[in-house]
Amino acid sequence: MLDELRQTCRRLLQDGTVQAVIGYGRPSPEDPVVPVFITKPEDVDQLAWDDQCFANLVKYLLRKEVLSLGKLAVCVKGCDQRALLVLEKESQIDRSQIVVIGLACDGVGKPRLAKCASCDVHTPRQSDFVIGKANTPDAAATVAERYAELDAFLAKPPEERMAYWKKELSRCVKCYACRQVCPMCYCRQCIVDKNRPVSISTSATLKGNFAWHITRAFHLAGRCVGCDECTRACPAGIDLRLLNLSLAKAAEENFDYRSGMDPEKEPIIGAYSQQDHEEFIR
């Protein structure tokens, strides 16, 4: 599979289809796997593929430091590819100008990350190339199975849930690693950076941390694809996945919507239906 990947990328660069390939790689053999930007055909041997390829490379399609390289090819796992669909719907990328190299994936991390257990996109979709074959079958998860972790948490009494978040969010230092790794966080000026006047406190107090995480989770409602990079990136080990699962569950249960899965479906925020339920409104 690695050979096929390298050959594909070599060809794309050699014939000028793209000026750069965003992939996973090792700049030198002793390095860990990192995002690499291959611009020369002879460098494709740096490309790597294994279960340590965590990063969601779609983020780089929005970074000017990478866009400046020219026309791009991007390597994506199934979960990452969903982000491409969301960005396209939000007019942030021109899909026709990007070459998408899908990498069939059996999961990442040792032990496997939580997201991999309910993955149903082992083979990336809507890709220009699909490299490799996934050995793991797509989980035919029911809605209940997909949100089992969250439901277990919701079974606790509200005071316990609040106490949990007070403990976890007290460790947040407002480094914004969660925001920076997220492909869907692309605002040129984030609401937390607004300071004339201040909207969300930048302070790493419990109040500021609650305000930030509530805001970010809600701004991702119906947009987050569950790549869980934010959870992995957090230097304080906060389980952001649980917050994002909340909004994903609300989107699926109420609107039968899973972000980045169906190119035909309208995004849920920004749209409405006259049939939206309102039994909670008096």
Binding site: V33, K167, A177, S203, A204, P235
Partner: protein, 339 residues
């Protein structure tokens, strides 16, 4: 001749310090796994009892001890609008003594560096008060991982800088105790037993790059064309700066409502886009490569030129916490290899 302390007595000391009304901070397991999802995540945090303290089974905590002398959020003073008047209330400086137990040498050495910055042109009373109240009991490192590079920047597993007491493990249960300052002697008075046994000096990580070659590259000019390529994968978060023992940039903001509020100081990071954003809209470091370049220059050229030592102790937190495995070490290795 040396002084020894065993683990049980150390834990008893920690409980004693707590019951005497001191605040004690040390490495603890927080309810999470590390970023590779394997081992427990260990962070420095305030302890409520000695049982929570973890002294071994990990390389180093994922954060640093700077937050105990330089908190991530600090109130400078309060303000209230009273009609046409503005009433200011200075913040109360802490008065409680605190002990940091189980600091790593790379964390403690950073305190000396921070002392210089916070007493350079203005004597920062907030920092100085906390610093005075703090006694640092450092634990020398028995092991290292691929991210550690203390020996490449003039430090090492037994570095005494910044520590009031250095504990060197003899075996799993006992430590050789070196009281390096009056504060340290006072804290551990009577707690140790004399012995003829001495700890063997632990071996640090191999030197990972040539500091002189690095200096040459940085002195060779600011506009090196290599920067964009080396720094392209950086996403501009603050994980490196906030977990770094020596990074000390801060932002001062007013937080409040129409009736009043407080002027506060929060950590800031040079990798954020807004860090150098001007009110006019111009941003002299608008590109991530410019921001990364500045970070390396600041740590390895600008700060040393001004204060005589590197703004880095080789702890490796930046690389361990970086979502894309960057941090300073990969950058330093690359540029020190260039001629």
């Amino acid at each position: 001749m040396s002084e020894l302390l065993d683990k049980t007595d150390l834990n008893r000391l920690v409980d004693a310090w707590l019951s005497e009304g001191r605040r004690v901070a040390g490495p603890q397991c927080v309810n999470a796994k590390d970023s590779r999802g394997q081992a427990d995540r260990i962070q420095y945090a305030w302890l409520t009892k000695a049982e929570e303290l973890r002294l071994d089974g990990f390389i180093r905590p994922t954060n640093s001890i700077k937050e105990f002398v330089f908190p991530r959020h600090e109130k400078l003073y309060g303000y209230q609008f009273k009609g046409k008047r503005l009433e200011l209330t200075p913040a109360e400086l802490p008065t409680t003594e605190q002990v940091v137990i189980g600091a790593r040498p790379c964390d403690a050495a950073a305190l000396k560096i921070l002392d210089a910055v916070f007493n350079w042109d203005v004597k920062d009373e907030f920092y100085n008060r906390r610093r005075e109240l703090t006694t640092v009991v450092t634990l020398a490192c028995k092991e290292h991982d691929d991210f550690c590079f203390c020996t490449s920047v003039g430090s090492g597993p037994c570095d005494e800088r910044g520590s009031d007491v250095l504990l060197i493990p003899i075996d799993g249960e006992r430590y050789e105790v070196r009281c390096l300052t009056e504060k340290g002697k006072k804290l551990l008075a009577g707690a140790t037993t004399a012995s003829s046994e001495e700890a063997t000096a632990p071996q640090g990580p191999p030197v990972r790059f040539n500091l002189d070659a690095l200096g040459e590259f940085l002195a060779g000019g600011y506009d090196r064309p290599e920067w964009p390529e080396i720094t392209r994968r950086c996403l501009g978060c603050g994980a490196c700066a906030y977990t770094c023992p020596t990074c000390h940039c801060f932002d001062i903001v007013d937080e409040g409502s129409a009736s009043g509020g407080a002027r506060v100081r929060n950590w800031d990071a040079c990798q954020f886009t807004m860090f150098t954003a001007h009110a006019s809209g111009h941003n002299p470091r608008s590109d991530q490569s410019q921001r990364q370049r500045q970070r390396i220059h600041h740590k390895f050229q600008i700060y040393p030129d001004k204060f005589g030592e590197l703004l880095c102790t080789g702890c490796g937190n930046c690389s361990r916490n970086c979502p894309v495995d960057m941090g300073v070490l990969p950058v330093l290795k690359t540029i020190a290899a260039k001629k």
